[in-house]
């Protein structure tokens, strides 16, 4: 089998539009996961036992089932219940919800790593609970979380091909359909691999920099 540059030239525009969808899905999914993770983390800390338990159960449930099954459920089963979502939106919700549970865990440990003394000092200078979160706890909790969150972002990016299972025309799906209609797999699949590799490598380098930048500082 020979590498056909002419074919590459033909399919590149479609692959780029697939890449665009992949990136959109990643960015929106990440935004969903960032907010959803915060919601889970807060619910799990709730003083109300029932709320905290339900949130924990939901987190375990989502983590304990494969993302692919969740995507099928959201896209193919929910319509039976009258909830019909466009493929990309279903994909963003599915992947975002799944990664919320990981984000929640990162938030939890980040928040717990802020020492009890910080809460007490904030109370001793009479800050309200809200002021304590905003000015004392979160500014200390978030920077150490950033490398872990960035790692999940990369993992999520690499899982977006799963969205092809629910008809989202992301990079993998584009490549597959180009390959199927032209009976040539080598160029589309190689290009997909290269795209993912290049973006992942750049991202990993980015994470390294974040790790250096936000290395835990030891101080009270």
């Amino acid at each position: 089998m020979e590498w056909d540059w002419e074919f590459v030239r033909q399919i590149l525009p479609d692959l780029f539009s697939g890449l665009k969808i992949t990136i959109i899905a990643t960015v929106l999914g990440a935004a969903f996961a960032a907010v959803g993770g915060l919601v889970f983390a807060i619910l799990r800390r709730s003083g109300n036992r029932a709320v905290a338990r339900s949130a924990s159960f939901l987190v375990e449930f989502i983590r304990g089932t494969p993302l692919l099954v969740q995507l099928y459920f959201i896209f193919y089963v929910l319509p039976d219940l009258g909830i019909r979502l466009p493929a990309l939106l279903a994909g963003v919700i599915g992947i975002g919800l799944h990664y919320s549970t990981y984000a929640a865990e990162v938030y939890r440990s980040g928040i717990e790593n802020v020492s009890r003394g910080q809460w007490e000092a904030a109370k001793a200078v009479n800050l309200s609970v809200r002021q304590t979160w905003v000015h004392i706890i979160l500014p200390q909790a978030i920077p150490p979380m950033i490398p872990a969150l960035a790692n999940y972002l990369i993992a999520m990016f690499k899982e977006t091909p799963l969205l092809s299972a629910i008809t989202v025309l992301e990079l993998m799906n584009q490549a597959k359909s180009l390959a199927n209609s032209n009976y040539r797999y080598v160029e589309p699949m190689t290009i997909v691999g290269v795209f993912f590799l290049v973006i992942s490598l750049i991202s990993v380098m980015g994470v390294r920099m974040l790790e250096v930048r936000f290395a835990p500082k030891d101080d009270r």
Partner: protein, 262 residues
Amino acid sequence: MNKPIIRLDKIVKAYGTHTVLDGLSMDVKAGEKIALIGPSGSGKTTILRILMTLESISGGTIEVDGDYLYHMKDASGALVPANEAHMHRMREKIGMVFQHFNLFPHKNVLDNVTLAPILTKGVARAEAEKRAMELLEMVGLADKARHMPAQLSGGQKQRVAIARALALSPKIMLFDEVTSALDPELVEEVLNVMRRLGEETDMTMLLVTHEMGFAHDFADRVLFFDRGRIVEEGPPDAIFRNPKEERTQNFLRKIIAAGHRV
């Protein structure tokens, strides 16, 4: 100097089944400097933490500056547990300095001191900074205003922590073993600041300390605690030179044997 600024009435504090304070009552007069001494686990820290509302109480009442700390009167005049707004108002009267400083590590020295006045009292930043600089001047750290806590020595951190607590102009200051975490050569600089505070202000000060020499010079009254009870109390000379109770005598003997100056 007649009505007490702090009145503990039959305070009970239990952790699970472990009762730490079992009906403790005591009064503190406005402006009084009180040293709490006693063996480890006797409940000294617990008393300060309760006054700072860092712990809840299991029974009894506390009055601070004429108002209940953990209670408030409802419409019918009955005593009910205080709500957060009430506790917030009460906390304004009290400041605390911790053994481990607990400075805000992500904020520079000046911001550590100005944060609370700006947020809780709505003081303008310029005014808060002016006052903070005066306080930093007083604790001898005006030149460190733009430093981060991590760049300071333990003694410097503790002096910033004192300035931070003073910035809210509390009527009552609580000090919990504020020199215990310091290298020996840094203890004196913190004690000097406290000495000045004692001389130059009429704040009520409660300190828990193992520095018996300092307690002797500083306090108007010394309370010796054991197992959550006041075993003996009196002016420093009476407690340190001429203790009546056997438990006090034993405690002081051990402390002296451990190399502390009295």
